[in-house]
Symmetry: C2
Amino acid sequence: MRFTELFTKTKKEVPADEESINAKLLIQAGFVHKEMTGVYSFLPLGLRVLNKIMQIIREEMNAIGGQELFLASLQNPELWKKSKRWDDKVVDIWFKTTLKSGGEIGLANTHEEPLTELMKNHIASYKDLPAFPYQFQTKFRNELRSKSGLLRTREFVMKDLYSFSRSQEEHDAFYQKAKDAYLNTFERVGLGKHTVFTFASGGSFAKYSHEFQTLCESGEDTIFLCEKCRVAVNKEIIEEQSSCPECKGTDLKEVKATEVGNIFSLGTRFSEALGLEFTNETGKKQLVIMGSYGIGPARVMGTLVELFHDEKGMNWPKAVTPFAVHLVSLEGGENEAEKTYQELTKKGIEVLYDDRKEASAGEKLADADLMGLPFRVVVSKKTVEQNAVELRKRSEEKPQLVPLEQLLRTVTP
Amino acid sequence: MRFTELFTKTKKEVPADEESINAKLLIQAGFVHKEMTGVYSFLPLGLRVLNKIMQIIREEMNAIGGQELFLASLQNPELWKKSKRWDDKVVDIWFKTTLKSGGEIGLANTHEEPLTELMKNHIASYKDLPAFPYQFQTKFRNELRSKSGLLRTREFVMKDLYSFSRSQEEHDAFYQKAKDAYLNTFERVGLGKHTVFTFASGGSFAKYSHEFQTLCESGEDTIFLCEKCRVAVNKEIIEEQSSCPECKGTDLKEVKATEVGNIFSLGTRFSEALGLEFTNETGKKQLVIMGSYGIGPARVMGTLVELFHDEKGMNWPKAVTPFAVHLVSLEGGENEAEKTYQELTKKGIEVLYDDRKEASAGEKLADADLMGLPFRVVVSKKTVEQNAVELRKRSEEKPQLVPLEQLLRTVTP
């Protein structure tokens, strides 16, 4: 895509009303727009990142038998009263509103209740189980405070998968598969090395729930990490669980982290409240065993910025970058830059091509650093004279001169 | 996909609480689920249709220079007060709610105000124009009544594109392109022949707005159609415009129709209210000329059901069907059915494979008619004996026996 066709612009100034690095850089680079505190819109470049993250998650969910659906945001209070989660004293993040035709409704902050109710139409016998529906759908959460950019917002798209199983064994086997799919997902989006499986409070139906925590100084959570096992314990349960759940070692290090995903065993908490039963092999009615599995793609995006940036800007992992190559045309290199754009595009490489005539070399190079695509390619009078282009990885200081053929080989995924 | 893997089920009974054909059939076939009046969730088969419709729209919007973004649902009242559309007496479909941190907010029923405000960050000079951002995002509309299934809901994904132009001429040229892209879109989704360009009220900035109205007995709108020109006039302006706007003929036929899309010239209505200006070639400040262009993919889906169904069920156009082939395995045909499934899938053909063991032949064939995929293929003892499969188009009464090779040729897109 050509810069001159992209309608967004970078800002010279860092937004003054943001505290977090991720919001500052994403707004400055024109990836997102702040609508109000805790509410962001995604501009074309940001949406490209978000879509790539969502597609990786989708592939991983499909691989473990997930079936995608799309539930409504508007919520019928009757279902939530059955599970005792309608009351603001129990769930303190509801947005509620009123129908013109009468009656209060809510905006979904999660979807266990409506989905459990829905599944009553589709689950009757043990033959109908297991089932693993999931979706990407907006959650609305009326957070009192919101200061971490994309890490804690009042409105965000969430991937939520729910498992419906016949027995605890069947549930446990899927839970393990989901854990592996989550680890794959974080590996693929570029958070792998930094993300640790973390034991957290399990509520009333399981000893633990599990979080995927990305080690990050700006994180809101505190976890106790066993560096040997790369497993952690959330501070909330450190009194009960003060050793590593894997090796039982007690040498745990207190670190800051951001939760990028979580998986919960729900037992029969919701199937009981809403009456989701099946007839087992012997003709007896049984309650369905449930689990829920969440990832916030925008939080993943924000976390990537928190982890991968320097004083000049962002640095996107290849798998989720909006474009692979940031091609900069400088004076005297216009024709060759155009040719390079055509060649790269022909090979199926995603290129953001800075073809602006008015912008200075300094502005163009600063924008490239700010936006943080993995490869920066500069074509100028100097490079043309040497029959080459200047290639620099965003993560490296030094550029190198390479012929076009070598560039093509280097940037091809 | 195998039926035994799909978690949804069809219902034997038509839902008693729905008046519209589209809601009745879509719910009965397990494509959608009713959460409450005017609020539907999309199950896997329904979501597949919706995604195909959205992808066609996306391609058409990209082809005219559209750039996809994703705006927030939660709305800051200050922007809407500037355009005087916050007041419930002016806009009577608002859902409003309250932040825990204080202050009223709204749920977006359209996005002119936040987008106009956003564009102030990206439009300064005539060089930054034109721009055509669009999105697929949920709209919330607090409708007093809602009885037409997917045709009028309180929550629905809408494709909304907005144009930002330097001059009326530039606007008019894009408006014409958008009209053509809309006609292409309706042609591609299967509504082409039934959909007419319709003149409607233009508000204060243009003589007309334009609607794309699909002729349909169950439609909520009344239009006056010139059958020669395939152009219509909405009843709301028939007093001012009582002849065909194309041929000026007065032989207009009153018919029922459903609005599947609309395009509006907005002039400077919003750029003035929110202060969206640009510096023109002579250095003078000017207001940006805007337009808005909407299509509701779920309404398109509902309209397709209204138009294409019979007493047995739905009949999807090939471009948006959830799967191309409904493959039914009957007694004695199990092995050949499995082989047929593999062969079709290998060729990249999307197959819904009814591999159920318990369901009767009657149930399987009834489900195939209800779900309405374009091709039904039956494999049974009888067809195996004849070294063939039974192929029936959903739109035709009579099946025919064809060898596997001929089937592959017929169903390949």
